[in-house]
């Protein structure tokens, strides 16, 4: 009596296979010229940028009551596919002499920065916090921390915000400028904060967060500040410390000045090689690309498995940022292709995609 052992092939639906063997699923799709997200290789998801209109000074007809209170200075909603990012911008006031030193020293001590960077720069940035809603609570996870810091650094080094743009021109209550004689000895600046909430995350969200942050900054309006009646002087021996109550005007404000030419849009690509060893159906073999495939805007579990990532920020004509992860085997041609796609996409988003709100 002979027994033959037979192996039954297991069949999995795509969403299950994406979880257990993302690389196999990805290759299966690529072989027939498709992506797991069913987009074309170089196709971006549609982007919609709109005002959230919840800022204090963002008065608009529809939002009557919600404006005029609170400390939100700018806001935006950016949607890309099903993923939504909501960005709120707020601020605080800091004494110029103190901000740099304190911030700089603590960071230096904690090894967050090295002494080469962040000295005497004329650029300012936004302290960003990103929250990706995924059904968990507690401290931010790795991805959120990474994006928050990267956004801060990107805005800082891009030179989008001048430190001067955040300087506070103190005035009287009302409109007059303060006379030179009465000006306090210290000068003050605004510090900007942003929180970005991301819903329905489907893939890497850095591009979307950057878009939301920049759009909200463009809506941001800074309050006019005056010195309230109270002024205290504390003298300890020869050292005189002045304290002022700084109050923001309820109505008066002016838009945050941005260096518009530094505006950019960022695009992330994944680079993947077609694996000829994965078994495939000869009849269905449609793609004849040799070498690597560049995928625009990764989406879904199978595509997120791609480790080589290229992020390009561009304003349509000039390149303003480039980072490559898992760079082994990235060729000049791949980069050139990524630059080309990114700049075309930026051009589209910045000029027609609703950036002009």
């Amino acid at each position: 009596m002979s027994e033959t052992a037979s192996l039954k092939p297991n069949k999995f639906p795509p969403d299950v296979l994406a979880r257990i063997a993302p690389d196999v699923l990805l290759q299966k799709y690529l072989q027939i010229g498709l992506r797991p997200s069913l987009r074309k290789f170089d196709e971006f998801r549609p982007v919609a940028i709109s005002r959230a209109g919840v800022g204090r000074y963002e008065a608009s007809e529809q939002n009557g009551d919600i404006n005029g209170v609170g400390s939100v200075l700018g806001s935006s909603i950016v949607k890309s596919g099903k993923t939504t990012a909501i960005c709120l911008i707020s601020g605080a006031i800091v004494e110029d002499d103190h901000e740099l030193i304190n911030d700089y020293r603590t960071k230096l001590e904690k090894d967050i920065i090295d002494s080469e960077t962040h000295t005497d720069s004329k650029n300012a940035s936004v302290y960003t916090e990103v929250e990706i809603s995924r059904g968990g609570s507690g401290p931010p996870n790795e991805e959120e921390i990474a994006i928050s810091h990267r956004l801060y650094e990107t805005i800082y080094h891009s030179g989008l915000i001048d430190r001067d743009a955040l300087k506070i021109q103190l005035g009287y209550k009302g409109s007059e400028q303060l006379e030179q004689d009465f000006l306090p000895h210290t000068s003050y600046s605004f510090v900007l904060y942003a929180t970005i909430q991301v819903f329905s995350r489907a893939g890497p969200v850095y591009d979307l967060c950057y878009g939301a942050l920049v759009s909200a900054l463009r809506q941001t309006r800074l309050p006019a500040v005056y010195i309230a009646e109270k002024r205290t002087e504390v003298g300890v021996r020869r050292v005189r410390i002045e304290e002022y109550d700084l109050v923001c005007e309820a109505e008066k404000n002016e838009p945050l000045r941005l260096n518009e030419n530094k505006l950019a849009w960022s695009s992330t690509f994944g680079l993947v090689e077609l694996d000829r060893d994965v078994p495939h159906d000869e009849d269905k073999m449609e793609i004849d690309t040799e070498g690597k495939i560049l995928l625009a805007e990764l989406e879904g579990e199978a595509e997120e498995d791609i480790n080589t990532r290229i992020t390009v920020s561009s304003n349509g004509s000039t390149l303003s940022g480039l980072s490559v992860y898992g760079a082994a085997g990235v060729t000049k041609d791949d980069l050139r292709k990524a630059f080309d796609l990114a700049s075309r996409h930026s051009q589209y988003v910045l000029n027609s995609g609703g950036m002009e709100m």
């Binding site: 959230a52 919840v54 204090r56 939002n63 009551d65 919600i66 005029g68 209170v69 609170g70 400390s71 939100v72 099903k82 939504t84 909501i86 709120l88 707020s90 601020g91 605080a92 006031i93 800091v94 004494e95 103190h98 901000e99 304190n102 911030d103 603590t106 960071k107 904690k110 967050i112 302290y127 960003t128 916090e129 809603s133 995924r134 059904g135 609570s137 401290p139 931010p140 921390i145 928050s148 810091h149 801060y152 209550k173 510090v191 904060y193 929180t195 909430q197 819903f199 329905s200 995350r201 489907a202 309050p223 109550d245 700084l246 109050v247 923001c248 005007e249 309820a250 109505e251």
Partner: protein
């Protein structure tokens, strides 16, 4: 000095923005609500509720496997409320004490109230060894809305999200609100006249208490009609 390296918090010695007194917000409320379900993809159920510029986003995750205990015969429920940073909280004060509440205590009391409400509504025993998490995010808040009124909106948002999630529930809850100059009350009703929870600032159970409950019930019935209508429309549109 302790630096939180996980968050990008900025310099420590800043002063918060102090705004000059502006005109007080109008104290009227527009009962119109806008509801939408299923907007968030990576969760079991979600809802978006907009009422008079207050925006509440609810997402429900679960039942998911729960590894915290060796065995539990029913699902553990967790409710998290998140008031978005920079929201104006001045109007969320207690009616009796005229002080703006501490944000964390406020959130804790909202969470515990909702937990007790929904623990008796969701059939937790149908989901052993699992956990269900409800996340509420208040994205925008109309400054004219009081705490109790916001609570009503939150509960109704969660109710609709629960239906969207397909979790087993006894009935669709709907929360009614009654507000006067001295007292405010929100009562959460499940179907069949059953009260799931009462949040009020009444100190005596007199006639005004009874009439407030009646007002809440009327409000809740009205809301239930609207919610059922929306859900029915959504369900038939799918087919």
């Amino acid at each position: 000095m302790n630096a939180d390296r996980r968050r990008n918090l900025g310099p420590a010695n800043v002063r918060p923005l102090v705004f000059a007194e502006s005109k007080p917000p109008a104290q009227h409320t527009n009962p119109k609500i806008f509801l939408e379900t299923g907007l968030i993809q990576n969760c079991s159920g979600s809802s978006y509720l907009e009422n008079d510029k207050t925006i509440i986003i609810t997402s429900i995750y679960g039942p998911r496997p729960n590894f915290t205990r060796s065995f539990n015969d029913q699902a553990s429920l967790k409710v998290s409320v998140e008031l978005s940073k920079f929201l104006p909280l001045d109007n969320l004060k207690d009616n009796r004490k005229n002080i703006t509440p501490d944000k964390e205590r406020l959130i804790a009391s909202l969470e515990s109230f909702m937990l007790s409400n929904f623990q008796s509504l969701i059939l937790l025993q149908n989901y052993p060894k699992s956990s269900i998490e409800i996340f509420v995010q208040v994205v925008a808040l109309n400054p004219a809305h009081s705490l109790v009124y916001t609570l009503k909106n939150i509960i109704n948002g969660v109710s609709v999200a629960l239906v969207d999630s397909g979790l087993n529930i006894r009935s669709v809850a709907s929360c009614g609100y009654s507000g006067s100059t001295d007292h405010e009350m929100a009562v959460n009703f499940s179907g069949q006249d059953e009260i799931l929870g009462i949040w009020s600032d009444f100190t005596a159970f007199d006639e005004s208490f009874d009439s407030a409950i009646d007002t809440c019930e009327k409000d809740s019935v009205q809301l239930r009609k609207e919610i059922n209508g929306y859900l029915l429309q959504k369900a038939t549109a799918k087919q």
